[in-house]
Point group: C2
Chain length 260, copies 2
């Protein structure tokens, strides 16, 4: 696999249809983002939802209605700069595409949402190993009983990702990820999975299982699947997301997201 | 109980022998400190020990040999400004006194060590309740299997204090106490007590039991009893500590200790 290092050159490659794969590992050090595109009417409510639930829905970029550009994140066109997109109508997945020119219209608003890749880089830099990365599996994710704050048609429960670690690593992980509020921030829970409504830690609802070894505890972060679930439940006439793993690489450096 | 608010007036009261009680609750907002006084020969090693074990032994003040003053903490005389002292010879408690004029000599060096009262104030300000404070008991403390880094004759294991809390409170507590590295800082462990060699959480080695309720976990901080244990084990010809609970109130505000 070719590793690209310059975000604008990498996006140009994607724009030209020459890269169609998960973006993990590309442009190390640069912030990757999730996508949600909604009709204007839903977008206003969704922005309120994100503001009320910042740990699961940290908005790092947003377009003006009808304008596919996100200048705050770089010279970006949301219609072309993700390698692949999922198209939902009334909450149902109806198509998977690599370009949104045909679907885009003046009523659409795009949101770019921070993702855990950024804080995972910070964890590893701080000497906290991330099991699913070293095992080359997808992070385990779980539905929980933690209700989101509702805004209009957007509600539902928080989805969390889980990383197993020792207690000392968990303490360090709280410190490290607290510095990154715009990419999910501090954990929302650690220890007993049942306390947040997870019946079987061995069976994630999304992603793949991560083994919890002797002396380790489960550490849970709010996850970007939360807004995707909320969008599907709200059943908007049209919603477009990135294909899971096929993300936007922005011009923002992860280190610039640190709050302190 | 009279609550004093001005540290220098409070110390003057102690100096005149008019206050002989635990100092908890006095001069709210000001940093209180533990005491260790050692002969110069031991003091050099002890300072190295503290530098190697900063979470249990955070030195916030230190005297020049033979000089009982600690100008960095206020107009302080270590011989008179604690309500009561314990005197150890060859590691054994031999006396309890309220004034050190008779014992002081040109070879002695005094250390003032940060204590958990400061971070407990920050926890409560941040909305994290502290069980043993609300129950008006002494904090539970435990010997552990975590070996200190040895410096000369000073070694032994870390002693920890324990505060039970929910997972969400534990995450908040890591954030809050990380800001206070000079008063023990972040927890050293959370969750399973056996992982740090504590066989029975219901039976603390010092202090009093704190109930751990359903949905709570034990959160452990390095404790100021650690250097006291190390000193006793080193068996110096003379060592003087404060009487437990009878501490120095400095002119430093807790809020000024915050690292960020």
């Amino acid at each position: 696999m070719t590793i690209w290092t310059d975000p604008s050159r990498f996006r140009d490659e994607i724009r030209k249809g020459r890269f169609n794969a998960p973006t993990i590992g590309q442009c190390p050090g640069y912030t990757q983002g999730n996508l949600a595109i909604l009709p204007r009417d839903y977008a206003d409510e969704f922005l309120r939802f994100c503001r009320l639930n910042p740990k699961s829905c940290p908005v790092i970029g947003m377009t003006e209605p009808g304008d596919p550009r996100v200048p705050e994140l770089g010279e970006i066109d949301l219609r072309t700069d993700f390698p692949a997109y999922c198209v939902f109508r009334d909450g149902e997945l109806v198509d998977e595409v690599t370009d949104l020119h045909r679907l885009w219209n003046d009523e659409l608003v795009g949101f770019v949402i921070g993702c855990s890749l950024s804080f995972e880089e910070a964890l590893q830099d701080a000497g906290v190993p991330v099991r699913h990365i070293s095992q080359r599996t997808n992070v385990p994710m779980y539905n929980t009983s933690m209700a989101n704050h509702r805004a209009g048609r957007f509600g539902g429960n928080t989805v969390v990702s889980m990383r197993p670690m020792s207690a000392a690593q968990a303490i360090r992980a709280v410190q490290v990820t607290s510095r990154f509020p715009s990419v999910h921030g501090a954990p929302v829970h650690l220890g007993d999975p049942a306390a947040i409504g997870i019946a079987d830690i061995e069976s994630p609802d999304y992603g793949e299982r991560s083994e919890i070894r002797d002396g380790e505890m489960a550490v849970f972060w709010a996850c970007g699947v939360t807004p995707q679930q909320a969008i599907r439940s709200a059943r908007p006439s049209l919603a477009i997301t990135h294909k899971p793993g096929y993300m936007l690489v922005s011009d923002i450096r992860n280190s610039h997201l640190a709050a302190f």
